[in-house]
C-alpha cells in the first residue's frame, strides 16, 4: 500500500463553507482530496452522534465548518 492518507468526514454548512467549497471549485483552486463532504442545512444540525458515527465507521478525522 502506498503512503497512508487520512479520510476526513467534513460537515459543511449549506450557506457558509459549502458555498466556499463550491466557489473554490468554480475558481479551480486545488486542495487536498482527503475530505468527504456532507452538506448540512446549518451547523446547528450537528449532533454529537454524527461525530461518533463518523469515527465508528472508520473516519480518521471529523471537520465541522460553518
Amino acid at each position: 500500500m502506498s503512503e497512508w492518507e487520512p479520510k476526513i468526514v467534513s460537515f459543511l454548512c449549506n450557506w457558509c463553507s459549502y458555498g466556499a467549497a463550491d466557489l473554490a471549485g468554480v475558481s479551480r483552486m486545488e486542495y487536498p482530496p482527503n475530505i468527504r463532504v456532507v452538506r448540512i442545512p446549518c451547523t446547528g444540525r450537528m449532533d454529537p452522534k454524527f461525530f461518533l458515527a463518523a469515527l465508528r465507521e472508520g473516519a480518521d478525522g471529523v471537520w465541522v465548518s460553518g
Binding site: 487520512p6 458555498g19 466556499a20 473554490a24 475530505i35 480518521d60 478525522g61 465548518s65
Partner: protein, 49 residues
C-alpha cells in the same frame, strides 16, 4: 474521552472565502495526518467463525 484533540475540528468560513476554505482544508488534513490513522473509535465487524 480518548479521542485525540485535533481529530475533531471546527471552523468558520464564509461562502465568499474560497481561499480560506482551501487553507483550512490543508490545515485540517495536515493535523489529522500528523495524528495518524484513527484506531480507537472504529468499530470492527464481528468476525464470523
Amino acid at each position: 474521552m480518548g479521542i485525540e484533540p485535533g481529530r475533531i475540528q471546527f471552523s468558520w468560513v464564509s461562502s465568499a472565502e474560497s481561499t480560506k476554505f482551501v487553507q483550512v482544508v490543508k490545515e485540517v488534513t495536515e493535523t489529522v495526518k500528523a495524528l495518524g490513522p484513527n484506531t480507537h473509535f472504529v468499530k470492527h465487524e464481528a468476525k464470523v467463525a
